[in-house]
Symmetry: C2
Subunit: 282 residues, 2 copies
C-alpha cells in the first residue's frame, strides 16, 4: 500500500498509508432526485478509495403515511417499531441503496450496496435505554474492517444503508452519522481516513439560517463554548448538529485524520478543505 521507498527508508519513517474518504449524505439530498444525481456525479469522480453512507430522507415517512403506520417520536427521535423497521429496511436498504448503486455503476464506479448484515459488516445491539424503548434501533458494537478493506482493495465503492444487525437474525435501524463515524474509525487501521458529513448547509453555523455565519474551524474548546449545556439550555449551535459534532470529535480522537462538515453541492471543495467546517481535535 502507498509508496514503496527503499528498505532503509522504511526503517526511518512509517510507510505512507493510502487515503480513504468516508462521506455521509443527508436526507435532503436523497429526497431531491436532481441534487442526488449531481452529487453522485461529483462523488463518482473522486479518485481512490471511498465509502458512501446514506441516510433515509422523507421517503420512509411518506411510505409510512401511505401505509397508515403511525410514527411515534420521543425527543425528536423516531421509535422504530416492527412496522417501521420493515419500512426503513425496504426504503433504505432497498430503494435508496440500490438506486444509488445503479447510478454509480453507470458513472463508472464499481459500487456495492451493503447493510450491516451483509458480510457481517456492522454488528449492533438493540438500544438499551433505562426509560425509553426505542424499538429496533441499533447501537454499533463492531465494524468488520477486514471485509470492507477487502472490497476497497478490489477498487469497489461501498454504499452503506443505515441498517445493521445483531447476529441473532434481527435487523436494526441505525443512525447514518454514527455508521459513517464508526466505519471511518475502524478503517484507520488500513487507511489514512477522512470523514465528511455533507448536507444542505454550508457547515457548522453560528446562525442556522445564515450560511455566512459559517465556522471554518471548530476545535474542542470552542465547541464547548458554543454547544448548549447538558440540560439543553443556551448554545449557539443548532441542536440538530450536536450528535453529528459529537460523532466528529469521537472520530478524531480515534485516529480519523480529518473531519469536515459542509454542503453536499461543494463536495470537491470540502475534500480540498476549501469549504465547510473543519473539525479539529486540539
Amino acid at each position: 500500500m502507498g509508496s514503496a521507498g527503499s528498505f532503509i527508508g522504511n526503517f526511518e519513517k512509517p510507510p505512507v498509508m493510502e487515503k480513504l474518504i468516508v462521506i455521509k449524505i443527508g436526507g435532503n439530498i436523497i429526497d431531491d432526485e436532481i441534487k442526488l444525481s449531481s452529487f453522485l456525479k461529483n462523488f463518482s469522480s473522486i479518485e481512490g478509495k471511498k465509502i458512501l453512507v446514506h441516510g433515509g430522507g422523507k421517503l420512509a415517512t411518506k411510505l409510512a403515511e401511505k401505509m397508515e403506520v403511525k410514527q411515534t417520536l420521543v425527543d425528536g427521535r423516531r421509535i422504530t417499531d416492527a412496522e417501521t423497521l420493515r419500512i426503513v429496511t425496504m426504503v433504505y436498504a432497498g430503494y435508496i441503496n440500490k438506486n444509488i448503486v445503479a447510478q454509480l455503476q453507470s458513472l463508472g464506479n464499481n459500487a456495492i450496496g451493503l447493510s450491516g448484515a451483509d458480510g457481517n459488516a456492522i454488528l449492533a445491539h438493540k438500544r438499551n435505554h433505562p426509560t425509553i424503548d426505542y424499538g429496533f434501533a441499533g447501537d454499533i458494537d463492531a465494524v468488520n474492517s477486514e471485509f470492507i478493506a477487502d472490497l476497497l482493495e478490489k477498487n469497489m465503492t461501498i454504499v452503506f444503508a443505515p441498517i445493521t444487525h445483531d447476529n441473532k437474525g434481527q435487523l436494526l435501524n441505525t443512525n447514518a452519522d454514527t455508521i459513517a463515524q464508526e466505519v471511518a474509525k475502524a478503517l484507520t487501521v488500513n487507511y489514512e481516513t477522512t470523514l465528511i458529513y455533507s448536507f444542505e448547509k454550508a457547515g457548522v453555523l453560528l446562525d442556522v439560517e445564515d450560511d455566512n455565519s459559517l465556522i471554518k474551524k471548530l476545535d474542542w474548546q470552542y465547541y464547548q463554548q458554543l454547544k448548549p449545556s447538558p440540560s439543553g439550555v443556551g448554545g449557539k449551535i443548532f441542536a440538530g448538529m450536536i450528535p453529528k459534532l459529537d460523532n466528529a470529535f469521537t472520530a478524531l480522537k480515534s485516529g480519523v485524520k480529518k473531519v469536515i462538515i459542509g454542503k453536499a453541492e461543494h463536495l470537491d471543495s470540502l475534500i480540498a478543505g476549501m469549504a465547510g467546517t473543519t473539525i479539529v481535535n486540539e
Copy 2:
C-alpha cells in the same frame, strides 16, 4: 481448488472441481415466515459453496394494493411500470433480501445479499418485445462470475434478489428462475455446479394437484411429449412449470452438472438426489 494429486496425476486427469449449489426458493416459502425460517436452517447446514436466489412472494402485490398502485398483467406476467419497480426494489432487494441475510448470519453463514447492480453482478437490458411493453423487466446479458467466485472463495454465502441493472443507472425487475439458471451457468467455469429449483410441490408432476404423480427423471424427449404445443394446446405439465423447465434444460446444455426440481422442505433429499425431479439432458 479441489484435490491436490501428484504433478503427473494432474496430467492424467483434469483436477477435480469444487462443488457449488445454486438454489432458487419460490414465493410460497418466502410468504410463510415459519417455512422460510425452517428452509434457511436446512440451507445454512449445507457444507461448501452455495448461492441462494429468492423470488418475490405476495408481499410486493400486497404493498402495491396498499399503496393503490394498479398491477397490470399481460398473459399472466406482471408489467413492471415505474411505481411497480419501486415497490419490487423495496420488497425484494430490501425487506426480503436483508431479512434472509440476517437470518443466515444468525445461523453461522457469512451471507451477503446482492442485487445485480451490486458489484455489477448481473447485467441486463430492458426487455425488447415486438408487441408488448413489459416496462422495467430485465433480460440478462452477463453474469460477473469473477466477482461472485471471489466472494465464494471467502466462504461467503451469496443471496440474490431478483433485481438487475443495465449499467445506465436503471434497475430492472428480473425473473428469479432465470437469474438462478444464468448464475449457475456462469459459475460452471469455476465450479461443478448443481442447480436446484425448490418450491411448494414435490417436483414436476403429471397431475399438478397430486404430489404422487411425480416424474422422478425428466429427459428432453419425454419433456417434448409432455409439454403443450407451441400454441399452448394440450400438454400434461402445468403451464407455470414450462419456463422453469426451459431454464433447466438451458442450464444443462451450458455445462451445469445437475438440475433438480422439488419441494423446499426436502432440501437435503433434493441435494442427495433422493427426492424431486431430476432433469436429464439426453
